[in-house]
C-alpha cells in the first residue's frame, strides 16, 4: 500500500514538473542572438525604420531614416554598402526588392514611390492616387507573387494591390464598424495578413479562395501593436511598440506568451517599428529608438 502511494506521489510530481518545463520552454525559448550592425563594429545606424531580407542571397537591407540611406549587410552582419540614391532619399521609410533585384522605396518627404533600377542606374518617382483621383498616403510596401506591388495606404488604412502601371487593381480593407485601419501587413504563400492594431484584430485575406478570416486577439494587455509576422507554423507575432515586447498568438488569436522587454540594453526594445524572419528563422526586430536591428533565435 505504501509503495503504491509512493509511486502515485512520484508520478504526480513528475506530471507537475513536466508541465512546468513545457510551460517554461514555451515562454523562454527565444534568446538574444545579436544585432545589426555587429556590436563592436564601427558601423552605426542612427535610426533604422524598416528591414527587408533577401533569403536567397542571404542579405539584410536596412532603411535608415536619419542617415537618409539604405544599408545592406551580409549574412555575417557586416556592412556591404550604404546607398542614398544620389541624395534622392530624404525621408525613406520602407523598401522592397523585385525579382530583378531592383528596389522600390517609400519616400515620405514627397509621399512618393521611388523605383531604383540598378542596371540602368535610373531612379523614377511616382505619386499614387486612387482611381477616383484621391491621394494615396504611402506607408509600408511589399512585393507579392509575380512582382505585384502592395502598399499600405494610411489615408484609408487599406492595402492596395498595384499593377505594372501602378494603378490600384484591388483594395484590401474592411467594412467592420470597429475597423481602425491597418498598421502593417505581410504577404505569405496563403495570402495577405494584415494587422488592425487599434481594433486588436488580424485579417487574413486568402488569395486562393478569396475568403477573409478575422482573428480577434484574446489578450487585452496589448498596448500599441504596430507590426506583425508569421512563422512556418502560422503562429502570429505582434510587435507592441510601447510595451517593448512581442506577443505570440495562435491561429485563433489565443495569447501564448510575450517575450523581450522594453529597454535600452542589448536584446531590449525602445520604440521598435518592424519585425521579420530571416532565412535561419531568426526574428529580426527593427529597433528605431536604440538604433539597431535586434535578432532573436530559438
Amino acid at each position: 500500500m505504501k509503495l503504491r502511494s509512493f509511486i502515485i506521489g512520484i508520478n504526480f510530481i513528475l506530471i507537475i514538473l513536466s508541465g512546468a518545463i513545457v510551460a517554461l520552454a514555451g515562454n523562454s525559448s527565444w534568446q538574444y542572438f545579436g544585432q545589426i550592425p555587429l556590436q563592436n563594429s564601427e558601423v552605426k545606424l542612427k535610426r533604422p525604420i524598416f528591414i527587408d531580407i533577401d533569403w536567397q542571397r542571404q542579405r539584410y537591407y536596412v532603411v535608415e531614416i536619419e542617415g537618409k540611406q539604405l544599408v545592406s549587410f551580409d549574412k555575417e552582419r557586416k556592412m556591404l554598402t550604404a546607398f542614398n540614391a544620389d541624395a534622392s532619399l530624404k525621408v525613406p521609410i520602407a523598401m522592397a526588392r523585385d525579382s530583378q533585384g531592383n528596389v522600390w522605396v517609400v519616400e515620405r518627404a514627397e509621399n512618393q514611390l521611388l523605383y531604383i533600377d540598378f542596371k540602368e542606374k535610373k531612379i523614377d518617382k511616382f505619386t499614387l492616387t486612387h482611381t477616383d483621383g484621391s491621394l494615396v498616403f504611402i506607408d509600408r510596401l511589399a512585393i507579392g507573387p509575380q512582382d505585384f506591388l502592395f502598399v499600405l495606404d494610411r489615408m484609408q488604412g487599406a492595402i492596395l494591390k498595384l499593377d505594372d502601371s501602378l494603378k490600384v487593381i484591388k483594395i484590401f480593407s474592411s467594412s467592420a464598424q470597429d475597423f481602425s485601419g491597418f498598421h502593417d501587413f505581410k504577404i505569405k504563400s496563403d495570402g495577405l495578413w494584415a494587422l488592425d492594431g487599434f481594433a486588436r484584430k488580424i485579417y487574413h485575406f486568402n488569395t486562393h479562395d478569396d475568403t477573409i478570416e478575422v482573428i480577434n486577439f484574446t489578450s487585452t494587455d496589448l498596448q500599441f501593436p504596430i507590426a506583425l509576422e508569421l512563422d512556418d507554423s502560422k503562429q502570429i507575432y505582434v510587435l507592441d511598440r510601447h510595451a517593448g515586447h512581442i506577443g505570440v498568438y495562435d491561429q485563433k488569436g489565443r495569447f501564448k506568451y510575450n517575450f523581450i522587454e522594453r529597454g535600452k540594453r542589448n536584446g531590449r526594445l525602445w520604440y521598435a517599428s518592424n519585425l521579420i524572419f530571416d532565412w535561419e528563422g531568426r526574428l529580426c526586430v527593427v529597433d528605431e529608438g536604440n538604433g539597431r536591428i535586434e535578432m532573436f533565435t530559438r
Binding site: 515620405r108 494610411r154 489615408m155 498596448q223 529608438g289 538604433g291
Partner: protein
Amino acid sequence: MKTPKEKILMLTIFVFIAEWLFLQLALTYASDCFKCHQTENFKGKVIHQPVKENKCAACHSPHVAKHKGLLKIEQAKLCFQCHESIEEKVSQSKFLHQPVKDGNCVKCHAPHAAEYLGLMDKTIADECWTCHKKPQKDYAYSHQPYAKGQCNSCHDPHGTPNSNLIIKTAPSLCLDCHKKEGDLKKRHLNKDLFELNCLSCHNPHGSNESSLVRSVRHAPFAKGACSVCHEKPNQIRVCLDCHQDTISSFYKSQSHVKGNGMGNPCANCHTPHAADRSGLLYGADGEACRACHEDTFKRREKTLYKHSEWSTCTHCHSVHGADQLAMLKDEPDKVCAGCHEKHINFVHPIGDKAIDQRNGKPMNCISCHDPCTGTMFKAQLRGSSGGSLCRECHIGY
C-alpha cells in the same frame, strides 16, 4: 450522559448567547467612545446610519486594527459591505472616479455626519471643485445644471461606462432634457438628432457664445456657409481644398495620417464646426489623443510623479507629423529647453560627448526622465536618483 443531538443543540444555544452578548457589548461601545470623542463631531443634518444607531463597532475595531481610523477592514471594502449597489456599479464601470479607484470614499463623503445629502460636507459642486478647478469659469452663457452646481445631472461621481464619467453618451444624455422635435431639430437642419454628437460643437458647461457653441469656430461654420464642405464627399479632399499646405506637415517619418475606411481622417482629431481650442481639436486637452493612445494615459494613471500639464500633449508633440521619435516637436533636449531653459545648462552631460552606455546613442533629457507617462520617482526620473538610475550606465559605482 447527553446524546450527540443534545450536545449539538447545547452548543448552538451557547454560540447564539455568546454572539448576542458580543453584540450588546459592541452596542455599548458608543457610549464608551463618546467619553473621548466629542459628540459634536458626529452631528449634522445627515447622519450615517451606524452612527445614528450608535453602532461604532460596525466600522471600527475599538482596540487594534490594521487600517487607519481603527477601521475593521479596508475603507472601500467596509463601505461596500452595506452600499452594495455602489460596489456593483463600480465593478461594472469602465471609467472610475480617481478617489473610487483609490478606494478613498472619505475623499468626498464624511463617514459620520454631514450637512448635505450623500454625507457630503459641501454642496456637490463645491465638493467637485475642490479638485476640478478647471470648469470653474464664468461663462457668458452657462448650462443650467452647471450654473446650479448640479454636476451629478450629467456625471456619475463613482463610475460609468463613458469617459468623463458622464452618465450616458451624447446625444442620448442631452436629449433626456432637450426636446427632440421642433425648434431644436429645425436649427440642426432637420437632421435626426440622435445621429449628432452634441459635444462636438457645444460645451456642456458653458460658453461665451450663445447656445453654448464652443468659442473657436471653423470659418465656413461661423459664416453659415455649410455648402463649402457639405456638398463634397466626406474625404480628406474636403479639408485639403482649403488647407492645401497642411498636407506637407504629414510628410514626416512619424505621421498621424490614420484612416479607417472611406471617411475623412482629419475628423479623427478635429471637429469641423466648433471647438474650445485653436486648431479645432475636439474635446478637452488630451481627449483627442486619448482616443488612440489610451495605453499612454493608462500608464500615466499608475505613476506617482507626473509632468505638469501632462494632458496637453501638444506642448511637446507635433499633431500632424514629425521626424523625431514619438512625434516630438524637435530633438528632446530642445523640446525640454523650451520651458526648462536654465536647467539645460547645468545637467548631467548630454549630446554627442555623453554616450548612453546601453545603446551607444547620445544622451538627452529623456534618457533619465520620463516626462510623458511619469514615473514613481521625483522629477519623473526613470529610476532612483540614489543609485539604480545612475548604475544603468555607471556600472560598478
